[in-house]
């Protein structure tokens, strides 16, 4: 029975042997005959599948693997240690929730499923090492699949997969670039078209119809950009490599799905993923990442045109020349292309890395985590200051007790508002909400926190902030909604559960010392307005609680920014409420300036100054004398004196008043706070020239555009 079955099986297997078996065997034989006994590395063949191209030499194969692995590994290290996935997570990774509602929504539009998967894996950026591992996996998979595709089609991988890896790596350095989504799209498109190429079946109609089915499903799953990539790869493979022009044309017709869909959904964006990258450079990088494979495929096809073993071809490979590719015989060409591409890739990655944005995100992240020293350290490396960075730096300075001393050591200018409004962009809303909450202005904090929720999406910091706001407003049920939402996010469940337990135990969470302190700062009076000026916000906070030190220091900082001497001197007696060991330096500078102005304009002495003048340090007075002397040495020519004054006095309030902006360098982390004073004020107060501050030159320092987060879906 067994023998009969076996014989029957043999007969069956022979009957079932595909027509192309002979071709495949010949092809394999031809491959073995190739010098160097090439290992094609092509995927396993299904019976009847078109034969892959002959492989590349074994030596070249190993080198390619080493180079590719090395590049992917180094890229992952760069992302892990340089770019830092936690910064990408903080800045732009789309919030992801474990609930069926979110999952259902991903089916509602083309590309939703891919984006859902990308958002899910992007959560791994919550930790630097895990994020680096994710990067390695994505880059490695993209390289492997891209390489497989090229080996299958043209027998050599070349440098194209490496270019794709470099393009993706460069995108990571843009921070708001949807790297996971683009990488997954590349991966899926390459894998799908490779699988389609390997399908059995030779009839034209079968291949075209199967491709249309694949492309339609792919369009819905992966979205427009990977869909176009899929079609381009299929067309390139069919026409450029396999010379099946009819099949290529049939596959190309699948592109009509896009305009058809756009006719149905007028607001559909065919570049929906690329448009989430901010900036033209990021957009170009995204397009390059998508196009590198099809362009590389076509270039490779042009370079290797006709250089194919004809015995491995079938009847549809007419016209192919019988010579083996000569590339394998020119290792120097391969090496030099790798070196060139690697060099160019490294340069691209380095040039794309937005280090200023990195520092800006660091400042925000450390401030959110209450690591004030780290925030200030990161701020010292900033050269462009966004509104978010400004807000967090001011908060951090206050928290470390250096706001009245070091406020002008970070760049400031006349039109800057301590609590800015929307014209500076929506990206600063969360930072402003945090500031307002700590000032005690809970309703104003709610305003900006909700704007952040609407624009940045339900990010963990925003949800936590809103929960605290509504606890303070005695709306624990509303706070619970935000905490319940937070617990649906990966890696935040424990934190949310802890807060929910605390809330359940005490709806006012009176045990929380910070909330208890903030309750003492809540305003008692209603001041309704579309937008309250900063000074009014701060004065109201002080009116609610005289001991609100933050409101006091912010108010004084605002007076310094606005050069509101009258208001500043009026608030000086409040220093007694806060037990300052001495008058802060910047306030001293303003008081001295006030005294000089009065003297020059023959105004009576300020009573307040009369009370505090003995407390002004001699060092500050001496500094003023030196400032006046330098100015006088330029014969009161402000423009000419600017450079010299900036070098020595750029961080003083006198320079700021004169020029409308600071001129010094930000502080280094080693600056130490000194608290000793000389208490003698000399009589020889040097006269200041009668300057009209309204003629101060317009600030020229470019304010970095607000790095808004990726828009919510």
């Amino acid at each position: 029975m067994r023998g009969a079955a076996a014989r029957g099986g043999d007969r069956v297997s022979k009957r079932r042997k595909p027509k192309r078996e002979a071709d495949i065997q010949v092809g394999r034989e031809a491959v073995r005959k190739v010098k160097g006994s090439g290992v094609g590395g092509a995927p396993g063949l299904a019976p009847g599948a078109p034969a892959p191209a002959p492989g590349q030499p074994a030596g070249a194969e190993k080198t390619s693997i080493w180079v590719g692995s090395g590049v992917c590994g180094l890229a992952a290290l760069f992302v892990g240690l340089g770019v830092e996935p936690v910064l990408r997570y903080h800045h732009a990774v789309t919030p992801f929730f474990w609930d069926t509602q979110s999952f259902r929504q991903c089916w509602a539009a083309p590309g939703g499923l891919l984006r859902y998967a990308a958002d899910f894996i992007a959560q791994l950026n919550w930790n630097n090492w895990i994020g680096a591992g994710l990067t390695l996996a994505l880059l490695g998979a993209t390289w492997v699949v891209g390489r497989r595709l090229l080996l299958y089609l043209i027998g050599s991988d070349g440098v194209t997969p490496l270019v794709a890896v470099f393009a993706l790596t460069a995108g990571y350095g843009r921070y708001a670039w949807p790297a996971e989504e683009i990488a997954l799209g590349l991966l899926l498109a390459s894998g799908a078209v490779l699988g389609w190429f390997a399908l059995p079946g030779r009839a034209l109609w079968a291949r075209v119809v199967s491709f249309w089915v694949l492309a339609t499903a792919f369009f819905w799953v992966a979205g427009p950009e990977p869909f176009v990539l899929l079609v381009l790869l299929a067309v390139g493979g069919e026409a450029g490599i396999r010379r099946r022009f009819a099949s290529a044309a049939g596959c190309g017709l699948a592109l009509l799905l896009m305009p058809a869909w756009m006719a149905c959904a007028p607001a559909f964006d065919p570049l929906q993923t690329l448009h989430r990258s901010q900036g033209s450079g990021s957009l170009a990088l995204g397009m390059a990442a998508y196009l590198v494979l099809p362009v590389g495929l076509m270039l490779s096809a042009l370079l290797r045109r006709g250089r194919w073993c004809p015995e491995a071809t079938g009847p549809d490979r007419r016209g192919a020349v019988s010579e083996r590719s000569s590339v394998g015989r020119m290792p120097w060409l391969r090496w030099s292309s790798w070196v060139l591409v690697s060099g160019g890739g490294v340069a691209l990655v380095w040039a794309s890395w937005d280090t200023q944005l990195e520092m800006s995100i660091q400042v925000d992240r450390f401030a959110c985590q209450r690591e004030w020293g780290q925030a200030l350290l990161a701020a010292t490396r900033l050269r462009q200051f966004s509104e978010t960075a400004n807000l967090q730096i001011t908060r951090a300075l206050f928290r470390v007790g250096r706001l009245p001393e070091d406020f002008l050591k970070f760049p400031q200018q006349r039109d800057r508002d301590l609590l800015p409004d929307y014209r500076y962009g929506m990206g600063m809303c969360r930072a402003e909400a945090q500031t307002l909450l700590e000032l005690g202005q809970v309703n104003l904090a709610a305003h900006f926190a909700h704007e952040a929720l609407e624009f940045d999406g339900p990010r963990p910091e925003t949800l936590e902030l809103l929960a605290r706001i509504y606890i303070l407003k005695d709306q624990p049920a509303a706070a619970r909604v935000f905490l319940n939402r937070l617990r649906l996010m990966p890696f935040h469940r424990a934190e949310a559960d802890a807060r929910l337990r605390a809330l359940a135990a005490d709806p006012k969470t009176a045990e929380d010392p910070e909330l208890a302190m903030l309750r003492t700062r809540l305003p008692h009076t209603d001041d309704p307005s579309p937008r309250l000026p900063t000074r009014v916000v701060l004065e109201q906070a002080l009116a609610a609680n005289r001991q609100n030190r933050m409101a006091f220091e912010y108010l004084m900082a605002d007076c310094l920014l606005e050069a509101q001497l009258d208001l500043l001197t009026r608030e000086i007696p409040r220093l007694a409420d806060f037990s300052y060991p001495a008058i802060p330096t910047l306030y001293e500078q303003a008081l001295i300036f006030d005294q000089v102005l009065r003297w020059v304009n023959r105004l009576p002495d300020s009573q307040i100054l009369a009370r505090v003048r003995t407390n002004i340090r001699q060092a500050t007075l001496d500094e003023y004398h030196r400032f006046a002397a330098v100015l006088e040495s330029y014969h009161q020519d402000r423009a000419a004196a600017r450079g010299a004054l900036a070098a020595q006095f750029g961080n003083t309030w006198w320079y700021y008043v004169l020029y409308g902006q600071t001129g010094g360098q930000p502080p280094s982390p080693e600056d130490a706070w000194t608290s000793r004073f000389s208490a003698i004020l000399g009589n020889s107060v040097r006269e200041l020239p009668a300057t009209d501050n309204s003629n101060a030159p317009a600030p020229t320092r470019a304010v970095a555009p607000e790095p808004a987060s990726a828009p919510s879906r």
């Binding site: 297997s13 079932r16 299904a46 019976p47 609930d99 069926t100 509602q101 509602a108 149905c264 959904a265 007028p266 607001a267 929307y422 929506m426 202005q441 309703n443 104003l444 709610a446 305003h447 909700h450 704007e451 929720l453 609407e454 624009f455 339900p458 509504y470 709306q475 049920a477 509303a478 619970r480 909604v481 935000f482 319940n484 939402r485 617990r487 649906l488 809540l522 305003p523 008692h524 009076t525 209603d526 001041d527 309704p528 307005s529 579309p530 937008r531 309250l532 109201q540 828009p711 919510s712 879906r713």
Partner: protein, 513 residues
């Protein structure tokens, strides 16, 4: 077949089957099961169980989706019997506190018990293994069904800016929610104030803001979509379908530093009439007086009266003094003749400000909101629902109000059900509640729109705005509505029979709730 492949499959398939069996076993283990017998020797707990949402002591329609709930009691396992005075009961046992009632038996139970009562018998197992039985939860099933579809707008708790707004429809006999149109379909512009003609799903209008030029109204008539380039605020269809009364408002948003943060001030508003058949806008002087602000138009069911709210103009500084009267004016469609304005609820008498009048389909009851001031009640925790008997003009505050804003009400076609938006759950996010109204005008305890997952609302960050009961699903496609905004084929530019209104272009903000 490839021998290697065969060999691989032979090795792998037992493992695959085992894995599949394990998965099924786990799912069955976790899924709530149906247990045939109640737990034995249960100890009676002499109180009602806490259910979330609170589906106790309410009146429900016979065609509502299953009222899934969570048993908010401590326990290691739970057993619930849903029974009526007639018919088969439904028994559910579960280790989780979530009770999901199967749809078909539920429908059969409600149908059989229409006009009588149903009961939830809840058992909870203590850690020691003993069972507790709570007092039976009782609900009444009304004879009258509710309209099959609820349409509402979903949006975040917005301030000045919006990003994602959508108008959705929900099948009330199940849980299916479907998007009608989303702001992303129309270039991220704002969607506003949908209004249906007599509860018909094929005829409605909504407003779009943020586009260049006049802020259009999208008109759907018998599922044909057109765009009307005419800025409008709140709409109301005349029951004939030939007119739409609308308000043109000048709204500004501001923030309080204490209490409820958001507020809106209406500096200037008038009522206008858009004649759909003639494509003409009219401003009858009786509803557009220069020293008054008229807003919130609502036609009565016969079309013989237009109900609205009006107040003397004030400045922003005196926003707390703004109190609207509730008024109506008679109208004869055949003669196109307006009567005199009649004040129904004077602000001077009530001390409160009226808004959102809606008359029941039988013309007897007028439901409206009263709030301390202004005409944006959803932002005021003290905003409550009131009802007036139009036969006697007697009006009263409803006992179903909460200590948070209760607003945005809509009647069912049979006049027995009202849906409204309430912030009673958390004071911030509005949820849709239904209440039964009997012929004597008694409003029964409201119940929350049921969801498949009873914990749905616990973590849901959007607010349900302007719920409207509609007799069937909206059939017009998203694509058609989007095209009407972005690439309209039918655009009406109405002629104005009086001077053009000076309503400014829509601000960047949404006064969404």
């Amino acid at each position: 077949m490839n021998p290697k492949l065969t060999w691989s499959l032979r090795r792998v398939w037992p493992g695959l089957i085992g894995l599949l069996a394990l998965t099924i076993g786990i799912m069955l283990g976790l899924a709530p099961g149906r247990s045939s017998e109640p737990p034995p020797h249960a100890r009676l707990v002499n109180r009602l169980p806490m259910l979330r949402p609170d589906y106790s002591d309410t009146v429900i329609p016979p065609n509502i989706a299953p009222l899934n709930f969570r048993v908010a009691e401590p326990g290691r396992a739970f057993w619930v019997e849903v029974r009526g005075e007639r018919g088969m009961s439904i028994r559910i046992g579960s280790r989780a506190s979530t009770v999901e009632i199967p749809a078909a038996p539920w429908r059969a139970l409600l149908t059989t018990n229409a006009g009588s009562r149903i009961y939830f018998d809840v058992f909870a197992r203590e850690p020691g293994g003993a069972w507790d039985r709570f007092l039976s939860v009782t609900n009444r099933v009304a004879l009258e069904p509710i309209d099959g579809t609820l349409v509402y707008r979903l949006l975040g708790p917005l301030y000045n800016y919006y990003n994602d707004i959508g108008i959705y429809q929900r099948d009330l006999e199940g849980y299916r929610q479907k998007l009608i149109v989303d702001s992303s379909d129309i270039g991220h512009h704002c969607l506003n104030c949908h209004t249906f003609l007599n509860g018909r799903p094929d005829t409605f209008a909504f407003h779009v803001r943020g586009v260049a030029g006049p802020q259009p109204m999208i008109l759907v008539q018998s599922n044909q979509v057109s765009r009307v380039d005419n800025t409008a605020g709140y709409f109301s269809w005349h029951p004939s379908g030939r007119l739409i009364a609308y308000s043109a408002n000048k709204l500004s948003f501001f923030v309080h530093t204490t209490g409820e943060a958001r507020d809106v001030f209406d500096a200037d508003s008038d009522l206008k009439i858009y004649r759909v058949d003639a494509n003409r806008v009219e401003t009858p002087p009786v509803i557009g007086q220069p020293d008054w602000n008229e807003t919130w138009p609502a036609w009565g069911p016969t079309g013989r009266h237009l109900y609205f709210c009006r107040a003397r103009k004030q400045t922003l500084r005196d926003f707390r003094k703004v109190r609207y009267d509730l008024a109506r004016v008679s109208y004869d469609l055949a003669r196109d003749a307006w009567g005199k304005v009649e004040t129904l609820v004077a602000a001077a008498d009530s001390g409160l400000s009226a808004s959102e009048p809606v008359v029941s389909p039988d013309g007897r009851w007028l439901l409206f909101c009263l709030a301390p001031y202004g005409n944006f009640p959803i932002y005021q925790p003290k905003a409550d629902l009131y009802v007036m008997d139009l036969r006697t003009r007697h009006w009263r505050r409803l006992s179903i109000n909460s200590d948070q804003a209760d607003t945005w009400h809509s009647w069912s076609r049979n006049g027995r059900w009202v849906v409204f938006s309430s912030k009673r759950d958390n004071g911030l996010l509005a949820r849709p509640y239904f209440t039964y109204v009997d012929e004597q005008g008694t409003f029964y305890k409201p119940f929350l729109l049921p969801q498949r997952d009873p914990a749905y609302y616990d973590a849901y960050l959007k607010t349900f705005n302007r719920p409207e009961l509609v007799t069937g699903p909206v059939a017009v496609s998203r694509a058609a509505l989007a095209r009407a905004v972005l690439r309209p084929e039918r655009v009406r530019r109405p002629a104005s029979s009086v001077a053009e209104d000076q309503t400014p272009a829509a601000p960047h903000y949404s006064t969404a709730q």
